[in-house]
Symmetry: C2
């Protein structure tokens, strides 16, 4: 596939001089519209042979365009804050907000390619990694990102020429580094791997564009024009037609049986029993949290449940056994405006715990397949794809060593009504009921249906759902604590 | 001053049992109102003798209150991302947004106290550090923060008793660490230093509260009640009366002379001269940026100027000589909602560069004393105090090794009118003039006055303003580049 990039493409000086002003003008106009309307982010990956002028190409783009809404990232060595979190965290934190352009030098491709070339990992490992990347990029694209991936290519001869020429002049000598010469030696190893990677990961929504890089003018102009066309094209697109999806009703169980219905909500605990068990389980948890093994792990907990099911109370019994310095509770409400211009998972990625820490989400990314689905806040296609995206997300956490807990606190409609009434009677402002609580209640069956789908599709071996019978608060709290302790005992 | 905390304060079990439910109720109500109205953030510092139960106290608060809007921070060892930035960065990034409570264990006091006790630094160093802290806390308070600083105290005997008792039981043995026993040994050293620190830094807006910690119940109840009173009191306060300040008109120069008027705006460069000089200065800059010494420094640049003065063009000529991977340009527009619930400097702190990197601010924290002053977006007292706060901010950067550049690009009113007219004529959307541009123009004299005050009060030896005559764009760009290169040559 690189043959087309070894044809000796070049642009003469006069043409370049004529073309560049027009291109700049058009790029600036497109960029202005992008920044003003903020319809999507642009993600550029600039990869390729060392010495092919990746840095120069991006510097040129920056000079042609308005550099204030372009951010270039050289993601090289991990910082310790990055090493403490799942490997994709360092890219998530750098994703460009809508309306801006993010350029990645060291991208999510660098690591698997390097591992493979250095012989540390085999082809299967590489391919598994590429599958992950494909899913990640598809998610970005579905969230609206315009993704372009440039591979700057040079044949061995052309690269040798280029490095020699650069080194021969005082002015440009510094541009050639040891890595460039090393890259030349490894070119024969790199090319077949790169071919494989590019072929497997070039998709309609995130294509690779191979650019011959021996002639700077040709290289710059090709990258610039490609970028321009892509932005212009996307700006012109009207609202996208959502991809076809299975009509939702077909998912409903035809015999009316479902997993929520199978719960025995009459299970209860009396107070004295509760107090004894609470002390015991909190003692266990407190000890487990001090395990030296936890220093290399982290914990992510998700609490979901019916309104008034007692999530807050359960959370407090869990944190009651923990050191306040080691956990954070993140209540999920409306996204901030910085979160709104990012993929929906972004706000959760940014809160992931470091090792030896715990993040507890009071409501979570499951809002996508619960409230957003039921209330129609997102398209059907969007919440349908969310199941897989969420499973991928949780798999990344687990792979990194996080222990993921997910609790659904379930109460009956009658119990909820009683609690609502009790809350109205107390008069405490902080327990006040909102219109929304009553509205959600009216959609009880729809929510129940969404919950069943959610459990079916996202209860995985690595991150199972625990359904908690919560008509009795005491019973629920002990079940939550015990579930956590049992699992931690196995894992730590 | 610690005598009052060695009286053997204690609360009996019955009283505690009676008091706690009432206190919790009231704390929850206050916290609910705080979270809902978001009038201010609460900053708690929990310091004191090791082994006095700092962790337990905060765990208790977390259990009594709603832990979802409380975040506790153990700021211990710096991460590498923190070490790469001014020392206060690690606290700024953890400041609680309005409506929430932030608890700091390792606070801005820990480091200077430790340095002094370990004999690495003398009293003068400590006092200089305390002055910085006083200014920092005053700024936080003026920005609306409720600041409470608890010092948990134990006499040597009481601490010995406590540690021995804890160690004697299987259940609590783990709570005693080697550090606690070491703390006991060093108590005689700590106490006089702590006294000195507390006396110097206990202010009306950020008081120290010394709490005897030998009895857990007394300790918890005292901390809880103090916190409650402080939040309740502040919630009841009506809009604060701004502190007295010198009426602004008295600052005006009486003979009409000012520093902007002294600029010779006729200075110009012709195109061929410009091209030569541009190549030369960009070459210099490019070389300087590759200096090995820069690996331990960072650069912060501020570009301010009249509308249409050519900030963007000047910035592009600077970045044209830099590697896109090493700089970020931050255009300052309206703050995001995450920024709005923080002190006004927060949005700039979060963008400070790591070492070997550059951040370029296109407009900056000087908005406080320019547009916010002129348009009345903040009170007079607020922009008046900003001069000092800004000087402190820049001093912290400089101390850390950042090199701070500040450019004011100055054009004449006639030149601006010409440029506005030219922009209207081009028809490029991206050059469109807004109502605001014309409105600012109407206030030309007020802005000029604000600029002169700004230069007078914030042009310091470590972070001087460079006034750039910008009627000629060519002249301005070269002056900017040359200023940068000259200074970098000295510093690197």
């Amino acid at each position: 596939m690189f043959e087309v990039a070894e044809l000796g493409h070049s642009i003469d000086k006069a043409t370049y001089k004529k073309e560049v002003p027009k291109l700049r003008e058009a790029l600036l106009d497109a960029q202005f519209e992008l920044a003003e309307k903020k319809p999507f982010p642009v993600i550029l990956i600039v990869s390729g042979v060392n010495g092919a002028g990746k840095g120069e190409t991006v510097n040129t783009l920056n000079f042609w365009m308005d550099p204030r809404s372009i951010h270039a990232h050289a993601v090289g060595e991990q910082t310790d804050e990055e090493a403490d979190r799942p490997s994709m965290w360092k890219f998530w934190r750098r994703l460009p907000p809508r309306g801006t352009i993010g350029i990645f030098f060291g991208s999510w491709y660098s690591f698997p390619i390097r591992q493979h070339i250095e012989g540390k990992k085999d082809q299967d490992y590489l391919d598994a990694h590429l599958d992950d990347i494909l899913r990640f990029e598809r998610m970005l694209a579905e969230e609206g990102a315009l993704i372009l991936k440039f591979w700057l290519h040079l044949s061995k001869d052309a690269l040798t020429d280029r490095l020699t020429t650069l080194e021969s002049s005082k002015e440009t000598k510094w541009k050639v580094t040891k890595d460039d010469w090393k890259g030349l030696e490894k070119l024969d190893q790199l090319v077949p791997v790169a071919e494989h990677v590019l072929r497997r990961t070039s998709t309609a929504h995130a294509p690779w564009i191979v650019v011959e890089a021996s002639d700077e003018k040709y290289r710059n102009l090709t990258v610039g024009k490609t970028l321009l066309k892509a932005i212009q094209g996307r700006l012109k697109e009207t609202a996208k037609t959502p991809p076809l999806a299975v009509p939702v009703d077909s998912l409903e169980s035809i015999d009316g049986k479902n997993i929520l219905g199978s719960l025995d909500l009459t299970q209860a605990l009396d107070k004295s029993d509760y107090k004894k068990k609470l002390a015991k389980q909190q003692g266990r948890l407190s000890k487990l949290m001090r395990s030296p093994k936890f220093k290399k792990r982290s914990i992510v907990m998700v609490f979901e449940g019916n309104d008034a099911a007692g999530k807050g109370g359960a959370i407090r019994r869990v944190t009651g056994a923990m050191d306040s310095r080691t956990y954070d509770i993140i209540p999920i409400a409306a996204p901030t405006d910085e979160e709104k211009v990012q993929p929906y998972l972004w706000r959760f990625w940014r809160k992931l715990p470091r090792v030896a820490h715990t993040t507890i989400f009071d409501r979570s990314w499951y809002g996508r397949v619960l409230v957003e689905r039921v209330e129609g806040f997102c398209a059907q296609a969007d919440w349908l794809r969310a199941y897989n995206e969420i499973n991928d997300f949780e798999e990344e956490m687990t792979r990194h060593g996080s222990i993921v807990f997910k609790f659904w606190l379930s109460i009956s409609a009658e119990e909820q009504l009683e609690r609502f009434n009790a809350r109205e009677a107390t008069g405490y402002k902080r327990f006040k009921l909102t219109e929304e609580d009553w509205r959600n209640r009216d959609k009880w069956d729809e929510y129940a249906h969404a919950v069943c789908d959610m459990v079916e599709r996202t209860s995985t071996e690595i991150a199972p759902w625990t359904l908690v019978e919560a008509n009795s608060k005491y019973f629920a709290r002990i079940k939550v604590l015990k579930t956590i302790c049992d699992r931690l005992e196995k894992e730590l």
